[in-house]
Amino acid sequence: MKQKLLTILVLFAVGITSALAQSKTITGKVTGADDGLTLPGVSVKVQGTSMGTQTNAEGKFTVNVPATAKALIFSYLGYASQTVAIGSRTVIDVKLNPDTKALAEVVVVGYQTIKRSDVVGALSTVDGKDLEAKPLASFTQLLQGAATGLQVTAANGRPGSNAVIRLRGQGSITAGSDPLIVVDGIQITTAAYNGLNPDDIENVSVLKDAQATAIYGSRGSNGVIIVTTKTGKANAPSLRYSFRFGKTQRQDFNNVRLMTSAEKLQYEYDAQYTNPTLDSMITNRGYVVTPPFPGAPGSKINFITPAQRQTIWDLAISRGAGDWSKYLFQNATMRTHEISLSGGADKLTYYLSGDINDNPGVERFSEFNRKGGRLNVTYQVKDWFKVGTNIGVTSSHEQRVRDAYNTQNSQGALFFFNPYEQPYNADGSYNLTAQGFSPLEGAVNNPTLYDRVNQFGTFYGEAHFLNHLTLKSQYALNYNTLAYQSYLEPGSNLAGILGYNQKNDQNNTDYFYSWTNTANWVQTIDNKHTFNALIGTEYDKDHVYNSSLTGRGFPSKDFTTLDNAATPTTATTSITEFSLISYFASLSYDFDKRYFINVSGRRDGSSRFGANVRFANFGAIGLAWDIKNEKFLTLPNWVSELKLRGSYGTAGNNTIPEYTPYGTYSVTTKYNDQTALIPSKLSNPNLTWETGYTKDAGLTYGFLDGRITGELDWYNRVNKNLLYPVNVSQTTGFTSYTGNIGAVQNQGIELAINGAVIRKKDLKWNVSFSYSHNDNKITQLYSDNAAGQAAYGITKLVVGQPINVYFLMREKGVDPADGQEVYYNIDGTETKTYAGSQAVVLSGKSPIVKYFGTIGTDVSYKGFDFDARFYYSGGNWIFNVVDQDATSSGDVSTNLLSYAANYWKKPGDVVPFPRVLDPATGKPDTKQATEFFTDKYLQKGDYVTLRDVTLGYTVPGKYTKRLGIANIRVFAQGTNLATWTKFHGNPETGDAGETTTANGTLYQYGYPPIKGYTFGIDVRF
């Protein structure tokens, strides 16, 4: 009824303006030219007027037109617009042709949506159609390979883990090198993005140059990723159900393997070491150990007969675990159910979805389960006023096995527990092994649980006036809670070691909200001059509240809440806050779709900086020239698109901890259980923004009627006033304070080529190639004292070198004459003595990736589709701590890599590892058995991986429609099925152990990367 009233009102208004003009009624039906299906929601406009309507659910329309009307314009997203002359007809049926490029026509940029053809900056998009074809397990997987210049490295294989995301190289040195991620208008933390259901995502825009990111001001210097979730279409309801079933497993080590029991026992014997497990076996068997015992030094195994030794060894081998990975890892079964309903009536659109995802980890006893739901609604309250909301809620449950450099970490346990040790005793109890610990017992009895609820909510109202002006006010929030429980259960081995059982419960709530108001004026004059002006304000506030409670003395492990603890031990809470006030504006103008210019600016004030330098301004200018549309140049016909872009501008980085500029004393510590005040940090009232200055030049091209398309970009980004700890002399009682230390430059090129080799109705074949090259270089350091970031001081910040260039003593190799390691002094002379003072900067060798990209192909034939994508990456160096630990005779008590046996045994041996025994004493050579930090363990991180292969089949509609099903698709996907590398281990580990501070610097014992298969079915009704 209301709709009719409004229609009457509109008609009445129209009637007045058109005076007493005659009118007639036209009806008709709109269908798709490709499949003949009716199209609901098509806009039908009378040319030259503002009159019009939309098609209904059956694709039919009725419109009153004045007698003077000449033509109707039909337009629909995804289809080419059509203008149809009216003539004397009163019934007009139209077939719209799909426009393959049309969906890409609209892109989301900072605070607004613009036409793809009007884009001035460097940006890449992943949109709905690309996303639909490919099953995605996570947001991280969605981003991988999504854009040139975007480097996404899975932190590790833990389900639910974050990724290391770098856009156009590493611009900052501190942790804040991640790009800003904005979901439906609100920035989200890296911890929250894995709460997103990738199937809820409509499109993703990756903003790369300053023209695109300047509008995000203080947060944009490392790029911006804008995620928009799905909305319903004015359409009949569409119901979709999908089910996925997958298997994942741990990726094997590349190029190396662990020793077998027999190899390890032989190595131990040669190194004069006896595991106490064997010692007790010797004692139990009553073997006579000669030279006479007691009082004899040396390992018992060296003093029994060879036959006895072999008996002991055989026994140990037969009892032992052999391959510990059988006990520590598993083939994990992943299951996902998902259902969504979307559609709309003439004033209302909706998208409703829910998903359940069970994802056990490849480490036994680890799992990540997620349940989520989303509701996106828009409602056209008045013809000039629209409101909408996007709400997503996700809850997840995670159990982790400890991930640190110790025996409780599964990947570490592979090395720390010898293959001849048994996992369980004969009576079924856990074998505590010679290490005094069982990793299996630890994982079961010392569980760590994370329960999270992530909520993303956006509420907005949008008013449209005067044909050109849109006002929008949006309140968005990201509310995350985490309940953390870590239990040292009564009766667990560790509780016995520590002398107490204990449970720690933590709660964390992070309430971030953002209030954005924008006004946008878009007008085209004389069909030649288009203006797009945007002004806006934004206020962000973050409030984080933590509590932590600990209690001891639980009566049994069945009691898991702290009210059962005999002794409460600690209770703390803490609060941190952050706020940001911003004003921004952007003005775009284009002349005749040939010349484009955009100017944007932003003023930000942040609570993280000192009062004197709290506010800062950022801005950018971008220019573009659409050569194809140029009048005075006539490009040959085989050029279908050619556009030149260039931009220059600034953006900032404020990702440093809260309250950094203040010099403070902290009150949180105690002495004798009484308050203690201790200096917390040095003040730096001059602490200011890190600012990125980016130059970008780019070319968008299309040839042969769009058969070959792509982009080529060059950029140069200099981040100045890098935020980083500034060293002070350690004699001051501090090692550093947060300051601005210098500048780093990232310069690179990005190339994307897409080719449509075959473009027939039934057979399509596309190939794609992308290449990103980035040179990272520190161009300025205000003082020469900046430290490297990695542990052990093995990296440095040096002008002219990439960030964290390695700083190590060089190793020549093992002297074939005497089996000792030979090193180089700084001056190049050889020495057999390691000295940290002889470390040199290894020019150009840094953990930073220099090039990466994808090679992909997809083929579709009738209902079948096939897609394969390789990912390659290289130019970086990784310090391989695992190699260092597991090839050295320094600690023989743990397992080693098999090739460690390739050590020097006699003069003339040309081998990688030094002698184990000192010939002078006949005893282990301690000098050679030390794990010094030299470039011996520095390895190239280059690799190529078969990232994913997907084979799908869509059952033709003519069969399914009878069942009332619009569409059924089945698919199988393999991820990371093969990797080619020379690295020892797994080169693709963004964070190879949670003790690492500099990503990619050290390869340690983190959660292993995974590979797997997924099978799935999608059904649409």
Partner: protein
């Protein structure tokens, strides 16, 4: 038009809704540095902060200090089964990349003392102010002296051209001090302690978990002994010990190590069960459990075990033998585990497979206070100073006093006759036995310019089998007696001269 006006009005309200003051956010758990000394109570908290620093440093009182001087010397042998912790120290393969943490840890705490000294005049004159100043001066001097013992030659083995680390007395963050003359450094340590002595409250007021007048005197006796100033050593020892030295007897001696008594402890760093730092115990072993007691009971899994020959020096009648060691199986082999720091409840197990009923969650394993100065050490300082200054009867009397409180059924007849080298050797032996695993032996060898001579033919097991030390000796005066400064500081501060050999 009206709706535009409404919207515009609303929009401007929204924009004005946030003001610049919304950016003024301050931490909830910190105070500005300038405000940290404004009252007596705050200064008391600052004083607590100094001692908290001593506890928090992983390289000091409640960290590895109780083992490092033994790992480096001839008191310990590596347990092959252990976690191989501190192995670079055991094998003398430390480099400027991996250094002992007391350099950074020490200056972190002396900086706290310096800030108190710089701000103390904000308080009115009086006892509190004097005591606060005295504690800051004494704590700074104590720590600097221990740092110099780690990184530098000792006074008697150094010349005027030898350098040590800088004696920093400012809290300035821009200070980049150079190395300091070792002899001058000793002078500053002594000056601070001497200045502190009359200001600081006695132990009766301050208790032994804060520095106190007796502890300052005891520290001075230590410094004077290293300096070779025996008269002052004796004088200060007398002040510390009083006329009747509080030397726990055989019955109470074991209680020192479970914190059940304060007797004989002049200064210790408090480590409460809530602080829960189990390093004192864990430095030596981890305790593992197995449900059924058998002859191969898993128990202490040691990191280090006593050197075979050294262990034989403990007589069966020596209370220190049972207080410091427990002979027990691990995985079928018998070891002499070091249980000096087992925790406030004592060893978790009293014997093979006998659970200790007093173990409770209130007293976590390995968590005990960090003893930094005991009357026994002061007495040992005094008897050595007496010997070296020719006061043989006094030295013998002190020796007898100590031994009568350590050996059951002790007969002083033989010791009363000691003189010359045998007397000195007995004094030094008692020092080694008494202060074993307490942060003394390696520095003492350095002071006496003696080599490290480990038992090269015996391993870690109780019967001497096992793996003997791969490095059995460190010659007297070897450069590795002086640990390297961190390379990162050398890189930053070229004024610091690295010790030779690194």
């Amino acid at each position: 038009m009206k709706k535009i006006l409404y919207t515009a009005a609303l929009a401007s309200v929204l924009v004005a809704g946030c003001s610049k003051s919304d950016l003024d956010l301050y931490p909830y758990n910190q105070v500005a540095t300038e405000q940290a000394f404004n009252s007596q109570q705050l200064v008391q908290f600052d004083i607590n902060g100094m001692y908290q620093g001593l506890r928090a440093s992983g390289s000091y009182a409640v960290g590895t200090w109780n083992i490092i001087a033994d790992v480096l010397s001839d008191n310990l042998v590596l347990d092959q089964v252990g976690r191989q912790s501190l192995k670079t120290y055991y094998q003398y393969t430390y480099s400027s990349n991996s250094t002992y943490g007391l350099f950074t840890g020490g200056y972190t705490v002396t900086r706290r003392a310096n800030a108190i000294l710089e701000n103390i005049d904000k308080l009115p004159d009086g006892t509190f102010k004097n005591d606060a100043r005295g504690q800051a001066l004494a704590l700074r001097a104590m720590l600097y002296f221990d740092m110099a013992r780690v990184y530098s030659k000792t006074y008697l083995n150094a010349s005027a051209s030898d350098f040590t680390l800088p004696y920093v007395t400012t809290s300035s963050a821009t200070n980049v001090p150079p190395s300091e003359s070792l002899q001058g450094f000793y002078g500053k340590v002594i000056a601070d302690l001497v200045a502190a002595e009359p200001l600081i409250n006695p132990i009766a007021t301050n208790t032994n978990i804060y520095l106190n007048r007796e502890a300052v005197a005891g520290l001075l006796s230590r410094v004077y002994l290293y300096k070779g100033d025996y008269a002052n050593c004796i004088a200060e020892a007398n002040k510390a010990l009083g006329t009747t030295p509080n030397l726990p007897n055989i019955a109470t001696f074991p209680s020192i190590w479970t914190d059940a008594t304060n007797a004989g402890v002049l200064f210790k760093v408090k480590n409460t069960s809530l602080d829960n730092i189990n390093s004192p115990g864990v430095n030596y072993y981890q305790f593992t459990t197995r449900p059924t007691p058998t002859s191969t009971q898993n128990g202490y899994k040691s990191e280090y075990l006593p050197d075979f020959s050294f262990y034989q020096l403990y007589a069966a009648t020596d209370v220190r033998k049972s207080a410091y060691f427990q002979t027990n199986y691990y995985n079928g082999t018998l070891y002499n585990h070091i249980i000096k720091y087992a925790g406030r409840s004592g060893p978790p197990e009293l014997g093979i497979g006998i659970p200790n009923p007093s173990v409770s969650s209130a007293n976590p394993a390995g968590v005990v206070d960090g003893k930094l100065l005991r009357t026994a050490e002061v007495l040992l300082n005094r008897m050595e100073a007496e010997y070296r200054s020719g006061a043989i009867p006094a030295a013998v009397a002190d020796l007898v006093l100590l031994k009568s409180n350590r050996y059951t059924g002790y007969d002083p007849t033989a010791d009363n006759l000691l003189t010359g080298a045998p007397l000195l050797n007995e004094i030094l032996k008692q020092r080694r036995l008494e202060l074993a695993f307490e942060g003394d032996r390696f520095w003492d060898l350095k002071r006496l310019n003696l080599p490290v001579q480990r038992d090269a033919t015996h391993g870690e097991a109780a019967d001497g089998s096992g793996v003997p030390p791969n490095v059995a000796t460190l010659p007297a005066g070897d450069n590795r007696f002086n640990l390297p400064y961190p390379q990162s500081e050398i890189n930053f501060n070229p004024g610091i001269k690295q010790n030779p050999g690194y």
